[in-house]
Symmetry: D3
């Protein structure tokens, strides 16, 4: 693994618990490299396991949100939280899943200008509310989302992704985690 | 379990997976009641398991932060996020752990006025920065915290609790989760 | 009287003008103790008299707002202003008047989640606008309040309480006034 | 008295209690006209009396703050609260007392650019903190003000004026009180 | 030319390029004095020429906005940006063009309270959105403005003036440019 | 020229004045395509000429700021203003000039985390202050910048670029100008 570009040393594969090593090797096999978030969190095994179990529960689950839509939520809310790691890494994933190479850069700066469907616009409006002023969430927000075809389980999914990245953005900013160079041009 | 006071039905114990039922029963045995957060999240087993694994990793771990100090972080940042559930439930725990019955109400409104040690004040200043403007975290913040005796692992612990409750507050606000009546007067 | 917990010495009863001493003794008789706000302001007799004359004109007046509703306004706006004294002291009074022991803690953190009637919700929406962005008050706000049964005198009453506590919260924060221990558990 | 330019009718002199009429006539004699704030509040006699007793206690008191300095505080904080009545009326008074006809317009827009002494700049910095984020007031603010020659009673005076106009600005915005035409050009 | 009241020396007429000298002399002939903005920018000829070419293109153009309406936009947005030079200088011009001597002081503090027509209120609402949160501009804003009789070219004109003074306010704040004494009382 | 992706039709080359057509053709020759900002503004010839004269005066001038440093200012402040056009187009130019393909994406999200020299960090801190709270600029800011080797002319250059893009970002948001597809991957 590379030297840490952040405030804490990145874990070395040989020193992490077996299950975490396997988890990371599988990711490396698929991605071609080890995203820094894995090496940054692996030094705290219990937190690593919980973090990625949560991540997988929200991001890998098959539901009404497409893979690209999930990444839209991550990119928009991470932009609002000024998280370099999450914007760059998940913009890459959004490009790959959406096959729209320009979309991520638009959403990262101002999702209101991005080339998305009205239903996705409503999804992002709500995700941003969860990210920035969740105390104002009201039943009216659910009514609006239902008018775009989302049911209450979908609303939970949208909100939970925004909530999870509220955590994730803060950990990346705390540790000064930087994106791997590979992410910047992936899927362009 | 009680009827949901929020936007989603609370899970019923008989319908949840065995490991989650056991987890909840153990909590009930200790607390004397089932805190709503358990019943609210149990309808999503994978998220429940990740959430409480994360919670336990941060809140139950023995480290340089006392149990009361961990709860101070939760109460202060949840106040900033206007999360009724987390402020009320964790104020109860802060009263219990600190044996200072007045402290939690002070910290929930304005931690700067609370009766805490300078080291705890520095801890809360940093936790609030993680909660509200994590993109501004700088190396200088680490220097300040070290001057109060915290090492870099302690800083991670402080920040990670604030980050985890950024998630937790948003889930509570999304689901409109309300605190059990028992919490309000516990430890007074 | 107790030693000051704030930045200025609390007045001693024997040193204050006669009318102020009588005012304070009457409060003490009713409450069982002397709330710190009386001892904190008594060192400035002219300001003391004006402050409590204003307070009484707004809070003791019989009008369309119940005693509990007046206290709801105080607790919600003092929460927004992060005033420990006012939130704790008036939460006590709200518990006493409303006989709903859980309400004050909810309103202090996020009145949108509190168990209040729609008319009270509209009242609090307006009070918070007075507290935080009064320059945006428009005729439309009056229309909304009238639709909930408030007439223009009621609107004045709601707004004037919010305005008075804009003053009160700032004086408490300036002097670092802390609530008497008695308030925290009163009415629970 | 003129017709109300605001949301509530202005009181007519013949209908107000004797003491209030005398108060207003005395003001009229001195100013040459009846400032709208008197006619706007006179319809609520108890509030009128408390308001002006408070006003007089803070603004007419002889202390370390000159009359012009008191008005500087009013103009700066009322500008921050976007209160047309208070900015226009007290800019007039600031011009009269300071004999510096340009100062008020500068302070109303940005006191940092106004032609004031360093001690007055420190006074205004603190007054603005009271007006906009009083929960952050710290002992360090007192140290700074002492370094400019203010003692703790002076700090109270500065803060109390800012606090009183937090109330006053909100009442003016609530009632949509507009300044008398006379104020705009007075003292230029 | 007078000595600079700001952070950079004001240009002297004899030292500026011929076209700029002529431009300034023409302004002086019309106004009776040289507004500081001309002397402040003349030390950078290329920027001077572009700045005033832009200014003239927006402010001198005959279009659906009256001269007074253009100045309303400048005063309102410059107030929001706390720019002393622009508020004072353009308030003078607004008084001259509108022949309403009280209007400018109202708009500078809170345009919502100013004595303007509904169409002008809509114009100012939009100009303020351009000034303070242009990323939220939506097609709905255009619909609202059209309902007040503005076509899309008018919307461009409104927005472009607000955008140009976003630049102008920042240059004035950067250089600490102060208004000439003449402006304060002009047109009262 | 392409069809407008924004709210106003893009000018067609054949319909614009001769000097503007030449200007645009020269840009096209150099860039290989016509950036949308040229076609969007060309329908207003006088504004076009002033805009690009200003742009050239600030961005093409040889001074203490390298071409890459000028673009850093544009990208950071345009990110703060959520301007998709300016972030995407000038990130391309920053990549080309800096030959650091990762820098622009970092600066667009959070310049505090970007791989820049301390002097560039100070430059960006100041540019962001100009962009977001120019009324707070103080002499101390100049002292800080001088300690990094910038003289007062350099400070003007930094601030003027931030001020110009305050205008530019607002025009792009007003017209809903979108970046040409070519920009997104240029220089990666």
């Amino acid at each position: 693994m590379p030297q840490s570009p952040g405030r804490y040393p990145l874990a070395e594969l040989k020193n992490v618990p077996e299950d975490i090593r396997e988890h990371i090797l599988k990711v490396q096999e698929k991605a071609g490299f080890i995203p820094n978030v894995f090496a940054a969190l692996a030094r705290r095994p219990a937190e690593f396991r919980a973090f990625f179990a949560y991540y997988d529960a929200l991001m890998l689950k098959e539901n009404a949100l497409s893979k690209a839509e999930k990444e839209m939520i991550v990119v928009a809310t991470s932009g609002a939280n000024n998280c370099v790691y999450c914007v760059v890494a998940h913009s890459a994933m959004l490009r790959v899943y959406s096959k729209q190479p320009l979309l991520a850069d638009q959403i990262a700066v101002n999702y209101r200008k991005a080339d998305v469907a009205p239903r996705q616009r409503a999804m992002l409006d709500f995700a941003m509310k969860v990210a920035t002023e969740s105390y104002k969430i009201s039943d009216q927000d659910f009514v609006t989302l239902r008018s775009h075809g989302f049911n209450d389980e979908d609303v939970w999914d949208i909100g939970a992704i925004a909530a999870f990245f509220a955590l994730s953005n803060r950990m990346a900013n705390l540790t000064s985690m930087m994106p791997n160079a590979e992410f910047y041009s992936m899927g362009r």
